[in-house]
């Protein structure tokens, strides 16, 4: 009866399972001598071991094998969205630069054409002036230019014509 009373209780059995060295010397001695307590402890350990065994048995086998090389490729592949975004940004930058370049070229081109047209106009004005005023200044005064160069309406004095071209 006394032996029954000194059996390890549940807490002591659990402590023995965690680490037997944590029991007091008298508890350890009892455990060494008492088959009931040993059986109790062993039964609990078996259940816990079964937990580990079952977890092992019921573990599904991995569907794929680890391959470091494939992982390296995969890690590069993982950058795919970032690479795509980068590529799009580069394309956009090229597009913007290209558009601004063409605008600049077009602006330069139209400026050049305008300048050329202005110089042409100036040249035409000069040639028209030369054409209109081909005679030296002292002869220009002789010409009656009051009708704005409309030669058909020029009035030629008979006396003047007689003087220039005598019949």
């Amino acid at each position: 009866m006394k032996n029954q009373d000194t059996h390890l209780n549940e807490d002591q059995i659990i402590r023995a399972v965690v680490d037997e060295d944590d029991l007091t010397a008298s508890e350890r001695n009892h455990l060494l001598q008492c088959f009931t307590c040993q059986r109790e402890k062993r039964a609990f350990e078996q259940v816990l071991n079964r937990l580990g065994e079952m977890s092992e048995e019921l573990l599904p086998s991995p569907r794929r094998r680890f391959a470091p090389d494939a992982q390296e490729n995969r890690s590069l592949w993982r950058w795919r969205p970032a690479l795509a975004v980068g590529f799009v940004i580069v394309l956009l930058m090229i597009g913007i630069w290209w558009t601004s370049f063409f605008t600049r070229v077009q602006e330069n081109g139209s400026m050049h054409i305008t300048q050329k047209m202005e110089s042409d106009q100036q040249f035409m004005a000069e040639s028209t002036f030369i054409e209109d005023y081909a005679l030296p200044n002292r002869y220009i005064d002789i010409i009656d230019n009051s009708n704005n160069g409309d030669y058909d309406d020029y009035y030629y004095d008979d006396e003047f014509l007689e003087f220039v071209l005598p019949l």
């Binding site: 549940e10 807490d11 659990i14 402590r15 399972v17 965690v18 680490d19 944590d22 609990f44 078996q46 259940v47 816990l48 071991n49 079964r50 937990l51 580990g52 079952m54 977890s55 092992e56 019921l58 573990l59 599904p60 991995p62 569907r63 794929r64 680890f66 470091p68 992982q71 890690s75």
Partner: protein, 195 residues
């Protein structure tokens, strides 16, 4: 130190010096352990597979930072645990936006690959009961219990992984075991299997 431990230390030393064969042997040796560790913390096979691959990628990158080759196992588990925590943080952010149904769907998906109907039923029951039980534990109780009995790590290794005091680890384990004894469904399932 066992022969197996010495062999692992040798493999780690060689892998750190760039020996590809040693690295592959290390991967073969620990792949199952880490996959299981991740799987019972993330109840989705696909996510567990992805995360396991990421953990090993990080292991390869960070192996040169490991100062003591003898601590490789706890170092790898700590690395894995941190990745699992990151995963749960991301998941909690996602669940904030209302996508929390996936977990239940995944239990179905995980048991679909099992062909034997009895095994399938046991598998499903185990997953449900195990999850129900672990959800009743505090974060550290759960962590210590899984590391000790599912990942089968020693208390000293758990101390290194969690960077906690040995007595603290033991206290968490003691509390978790006490709750485990009061978890009738899981206890009965395991006892039935054990007998």
């Amino acid at each position: 130190m066992s022969d197996n431990d010495n062999q692992i230390i040798q493999l780690v030393e060689h892998a750190r010096r760039g020996n590809k064969a040693s690295l592959e042997r290390l991967l073969d040796h620990f792949y199952g352990d880490i996959f299981r560790m991740v799987y019972y913390r993330i109840p989705s096979q696909m996510d567990a597979e992805d995360l396991t691959q990421e953990i090993f990628m990080q292991m390869i990158k960070s192996l040169s930072n490991l100062r003591d080759s003898r601590l490789f196992r706890p170092w790898l588990f700590r690395l894995a645990l941190n990745r699992v925590r990151d995963f749960h943080r991301k998941r909690s952010i996602l669940s904030f936006f209302g996508s929390t149904v996936e977990m239940d769907v995944d239990v179905q998906a995980n048991t679909e690959s099992v062909s034997d109907p009895i095994k399938k039923m046991v598998h499903k029951e185990f997953q449900l009961q195990f999850r129900k039980f672990t959800e009743s534990l505090s974060r550290w109780e759960r962590e210590v219990l899984i590391l000790r009995f599912l990942d089968q790590l020693e208390i000293k290794e758990i101390v290194q992984i969690l960077r906690k005091n040995e007595n603290t680890v033991k206290t968490h384990l003691y509390r978790a075991l006490k709750k485990f004894r009061r978890s009738p469904e899981l206890h009965a399932l395991l006892k039935g299997e054990a007998s």
